[in-house]
Structure formats: structure tokens, C-alpha cells
């Protein structure tokens, strides 16, 4: 076969003028791909990296100190008051859980839809999911007030002879979020095994070889193993898809099952899921734009990928915008005076500034993505992705604060603002998230090597494939 060069391994050959934009630029060989990703792990740790790491780690440390202060003093150090029992803690919880959802969407749903472009971003998006869920779990754990009694949330036989109340959405949440974390982590690790094996054989340092060797579990790339692996991966993707929809639905039940005006609505589950995917994609975008610049991954994360992600941001942003409008419509149409009042208050009351920040960031700003030129404008998409992150955080804050600060009894109305402790904890979650992501980007293959190889042109046998009889491609990769 002319495609084959004995010394250079499998050549990828873009033999024909591609109809679609290529997913990987520069037509690299398989070895180039291994070397490109492997070299990130092999390269020396630079001072710049250490400084960035030190910065994010100090953010994390500051947040952890604030958490420690909260735990040893009590959640009275937060700005929560009598009508407003949920503040930044639950806002951040929902925010971080939502961030995670894009990772699962990219890795599972786009996999099922055979969107090949996902291979460039799925690994880092899945990592992001896991780190975001860690942040979310920390928030909700501290919110319980006595986090050292976390195990009370689990049904286990105890001296009180009491069980968990399974009729409460808060108990469902425990199951949903923990399942989400466990399944995302398993899915991520299974996806990593072949790439860790590639690194095991690629790296030079003996210690690194040992570490990747242990982590890759002795994967050899056996076709008998790939056979099981591919089915297992498909099953994990198949179950992650309904899982991601269920997790944010269950999170929304924390609100909807209560009878508070502004929360007690049936639109919440789909509205939360769309918002989660929206915010998650924005976060993936922010991180990817930095990663492709710093790690020089422009070959793999191309404008086409960014364009596709921006289309999803536009679509989910419109869904979120629709939900905002529909909430108002239903509030009026229901004829429920409390419901209508809370929505008028949301747009024009004490928290109007938060509401309009949310609308501007989430509904107005993504509209630029109707234009292809703007979908491929990197500085612009960086700014928009930050806007969406901010907007989605304000969405959760608006939902929580506006409903709680004015409830049924005007005598108990109040206003909530956070204390330095809550702000520090929020900064800290970003510190933890970014620190973990930096460590990931340095020590773990940031691009799914095996998956990228599998989608290269010429990587798979042609359909009528019986190599010796098919017309071959000439040396230069032109049709014979």
C-alpha cells in the first residue's frame, strides 16, 4: 500500500479535497499526535506555570481558610438572615453543578450523536465536570452547617433509629450529585486508560513510566480488549446522557417542590438543564481558549470546534431566554397574585440589578453568534464566554434571592448581601477548580489521543476493504 511508509507508521492521508473542514489541522501522522500531546507531559515545568499554580493555589487556600472559619464558627458568619436562608452557598452549588453539565454533554451526548469534533475537547471538558462537581459538593456540604455529620445524609442504621426522608428532594439531591460525581469519574478514567498507556510508552523518565504504567492498568491496545472497551464506553455514554438531564432536574426539584412563589413551577427542570449546558459550554470555552493558546493546541482545537461550541451557546442561550420569558408569562397567566408579584419584583425590585445583569449577559450577549465571522472571532468569544459565566451565576442568585427576600409575610421581608466569608469561599472554589485544572493540563493527556487518532483520515479501513484489491493512493496521497 502506498499509504504506508514502513518507518513512519500509519500515515493519515487527506487524499481528496475535504468537503468538510478537517478536524485536525496540519495533517499530522499518528506519531505526531502522540508526540504533540506527550510533549506537554514531558516538557519541563516552567516558572510561569509554577507562578500561575501558586496564584490559583493561594486562591484555593484563602477559600479553604474561609471554609474552615465557617465550620469552626458556624454559618452565622455568612450574610444569611431570617427570610433568606439560602445565599451564595446554594447559588455557588447550582452554578458549579451546572458548569459540570457541559462536560457530560460533550462526552456523552455528542458521542451518541457521533459528533466527531467532540474528540478534541471531551477530555478537558470531562475533567472540568469532575472538578466543578468537587466544588459543588464542598458548597453543599458546608451549607449543611455541620459538615462533619455528612453521613447523616446516607441511609444507614444508627442509634437514633431514624432513616433518611426519601420524600424530600434534598435526599434525592444527595443521590443525584454523588451518582453524578461517581459516574463522571468512572467515565473519565475509562476514557483515559488507553492514553495513559500511550504515555507510559512515550515518556522517558523511569518514575513517570512507573506512574503511568500503574494508572494505565497494563493496557496493551489489544483488539480483544478494545472490543469490550468500545461497548463499555458506549454504555457509559448511554447512561450518562439521561443522568446529566436528571441531575439538574433533581437540583431544580430542591426549588420546585417547595411552595415558594417563583420556585414552584414546572418549567424548572428543562430550564435548569438548558441553563446548565449553557453555562458549562461557556466555561469550556473560557478554558479551551486559554489552553489552546498556552499549550499550543490550535492544531486540535480549531476554529471549527469553537464555532460549533458557539452555536450550542447560542442555542442554549435562546432556550434560557425563552424560559425567562415563559416564567413571566405563566406568572401573569396563572392569575396567582403572589406569583405575579414576585416576578414584577424580580425585574423591578431590590434585586433588579442582578436580574438585568443576568438578562444582558445570558440573552443579549450570545446574539452576536448569529454571524459566522463573530463565531470565529477569538477575543470576542472569550469576552462572551465570561459574560455567560457571570450571567449564569446571577441567574441562580436571582432565583434564590428574589424569592426568599420577600415571602408571603411582609413583616419578615429582608435583604441579603454576602459577607467577606462567602465571597472568599466563592473565590476559593475558583482557586480549587483552576488548580485542579492546571495539574490536569500538565500531567494528564489533555486531548483524547486514541480518539483523535481514530478519526484521522485514513485511520479506518475503507468499507469495501480488502486492501490488496482496492484502488490505492499514490505516493503523494493523490488519487491513483
Amino acid at each position: 500500500m502506498s499509504v504506508v511508509n514502513e518507518n513512519q507508521g500509519i500515515r493519515s492521508v487527506a487524499a481528496y479535497e475535504p468537503i468538510r473542514e478537517p478536524l485536525v489541522l496540519g495533517n499530522p501522522t499518528m506519531r505526531d499526535i502522540t508526540a504533540r500531546i506527550g510533549s506537554i507531559v514531558e516538557s519541563k515545568i516552567t516558572a510561569k506555570y509554577l507562578l500561575t499554580l501558586a496564584f490559583t493555589a493561594s486562591m484555593a487556600a484563602w477559600g479553604l481558610f474561609a471554609l474552615y472559619y465557617t465550620v469552626v464558627t458556624g454559618i452565622g458568619v455568612w450574610g444569611l438572615n431570617n427570610p433568606v436562608g439560602w445565599g451564595w452557598d446554594i447559588t455557588n452549588f447550582v452554578f458549579w453543578i451546572g458548569i459540570g453539565h457541559a462536560g457530560t454533554l460533550i462526552s456523552a451526548i455528542l458521542f451518541l450523536f457521533r459528533q466527531k469534533w467532540r474528540t478534541a475537547i471531551n477530555r478537558s471538558a470531562e475533567a472540568m465536570t469532575i472538578f466543578a462537581v468537587i466544588c459543588a459538593l464542598m458548597m453543599v456540604l458546608t451549607h449543611t452547617g455541620r459538615p462533619w455529620l455528612f453521613y447523616w445524609l446516607m441511609p444507614f442504621p444508627n442509634q437514633m433509629q431514624m432513616w433518611v426522608n426519601f420524600r424530600s428532594p434534598l435526599a434525592w439531591d444527595v443521590f443525584a450529585v454523588n451518582t453524578y460525581f461517581a459516574v463522571s469519574a468512572l467515565f473519565w478514567f475509562v476514557g483515559l486508560i488507553p492514553d495513559l498507556a500511550t504515555l507510559r510508552n512515550y515518556v522517558r523518565s523511569e518514575i513517570a513510566k512507573k506512574i503511568y504504567g500503574v494508572l494505565s492498568l497494563g493496557w496493551t491496545g489489544s483488539t480483544r480488549h478494545w472490543h469490550h472497551y468500545e461497548i463499555a464506553y458506549l454504555i457509559l455514554a448511554g447512561i450518562s446522557t439521561p443522568l446529566v438531564l436528571s441531575v439538574h432536574s433533581v437540583v431544580s426539584f430542591d426549588f420546585t417542590v417547595g411552595i415558594m412563589p417563583g420556585w414552584h413551577t414546572t418549567i424548572f427542570p428543562p430550564y435548569f438543564v438548558a441553563g446548565a449546558i449553557f453555562s458549562g459550554f461557556a466555561m469550556v470555552m473560557t478554558l479551551m481558549l486559554i489552553a489552546r493558546e498556552v499549550l499550543d493546541l490550535k492544531q486540535f482545537i480549531t476554529l471549527k470546534h469553537l464555532d460549533n461550541m458557539n452555536k450550542i451557546i447560542l442555542a442554549t442561550g435562546m432556550m434560557v431566554g425563552y424560559a425567562y420569558a415563559m416564567e413571566f408569562f405563566i406568572a401573569w397567566y396563572s392569575g396567582n397574585p403572589w406569583e405575579s408579584w414576585i416576578f414584577v419584583n424580580r425585574a423591578f425590585g431590590d434585586y433588579a440589578w442582578a436580574y438585568w445583569t443576568m438578562v444582558t449577559c445570558n440573552v443579549v450577549s450570545p446574539q452576536v453568534y448569529w454571524f459566522k465571522k463573530l463565531r470565529r472571532h477569538i477575543p470576542l468569544m472569550f469576552v462572551i464566554s465570561i459574560f455567560v459565566n457571570i450571567g449564569m451565576w446571577f441567574e441562580r442568585f436571582t432565583i434564590i434571592a428574589t424569592t426568599l427576600h420577600h415571602d408571603f409575610l411582609p413583616a419578615s421581608w429582608g435583604y441579603y448581601s454576602p459577607t467577606w466569608v462567602e465571597i472568599s469561599i466563592f473565590i476559593g472554589t475558583f482557586g480549587i477548580f483552576l488548580t485542579l485544572f492546571l495539574l490536569f493540563a500538565k500531567f494528564v493527556p489533555v486531548i483524547a489521543i486514541a480518539e483523535v487518532k481514530a478519526i484521522m483520515p485514513g485511520a479506518q479501513p475503507s468499507h469495501h476493504a480488502h486492501a490488496h484489491t482496492t484502488p490505492t493512493l499514490s505516493e503523494k496521497g493523490q488519487p491513483a
Binding site: I10, P155, L186, V214, L217, T223, S246, A465, H466
Partner: protein, 180 residues
Amino acid sequence: MSAAPVGVVGEFTDPNAITTAAEQIRDAGYRKWDIHTPYPVHGLDKAMGVKRSLITYISFAGMLFGLTNALAIQWWTGAFDYKLNIGGKGFFNWEWSMPVDFELSILGTAIFTVVGLFGLCKLPTWYNRYQDDLSFKKATDDTFVVTIDVDDDRFSLEGTQDLLRRLGAANVHVVTAATH
């Protein structure tokens, strides 16, 4: 300690050629052999004659395990062991049991799938008889590596190597490993 042959290896780099070679080796009646590839090659498992994976059944069992546990624990704690009236809601109703049923079904499926995958692939196995061979190491990079084990009934040092060469394999050689 002496060096005993463990099998022969051959390298391929073309996905069409490896597919044809897999069919030929399968038809030649070999059983203890494998192809190591850097990424899953479509249809290669079929060409090798690999039997359908059992993993779907394992996953299904995991789903049933999770679901059964979810229903059992919610019914037993709420409607049997300690009945507690909370807001007049039922002690057990399938309606409110759905979220936990669903989550635990997913969790069961995921855990069984991964454990099943590890079991079927015998992972972790931190030793492979071919592991020090240079060709074999390329299988995680850019080469399709055929390995035919010495304990296969049809194996013969010369004949097996000839077969691989005939099929277009490069760098065909015998791999030896130290026996302990």
C-alpha cells in the same frame, strides 16, 4: 533463568492490510493471538473472529442491582422499619421513589460496566510477556502489532513467521522472555 520464546510479532501500518491479515490468521486456525492497536479499528474485532462481548449483560445486571436496592431501601426504611408520617405523604410510593430509583440504577450500571470491563480484559495486569519488545511498544503509538503466542496449537517458529511475512507484516521476529 533462560530466554524462552513467547511468540512472534509483526507490524502493520495500514488499516486495510491489518483487516485482511486478521481474517487470514483467523482462517488459518490460530486462537492464541491478538492485534494491538493504538485506537479501535472498525471491524477488526470481527475480522479476528472475536465473540460478542458479554459486557451488555453485566451492565444490565448492574442496572437491576441498583434498581432493586433503591426500591428495597426506600420501601424498607419508610414503609416497614420505621413508619413516619411526613406531611401526610405515603410511607412508600413509586412516584416519589423515582429519582433515587433512577440514580441508583445508573450508578449500578456504571459500576458493573467498569468492573465488568476490568474483569473481561483482566485489568489491571501489570505484566505482559511482550512488554519489553520494541515493536510491541509501538502499538500504543502508531503501529498495528500482531502477536501470536507460542502456546497456540498451530504455532511453529518458522511457519508462523512466514505467514506474517506473507500477509505483509514488517519487522517479523520472535520475542523471547526470561523465564523465572
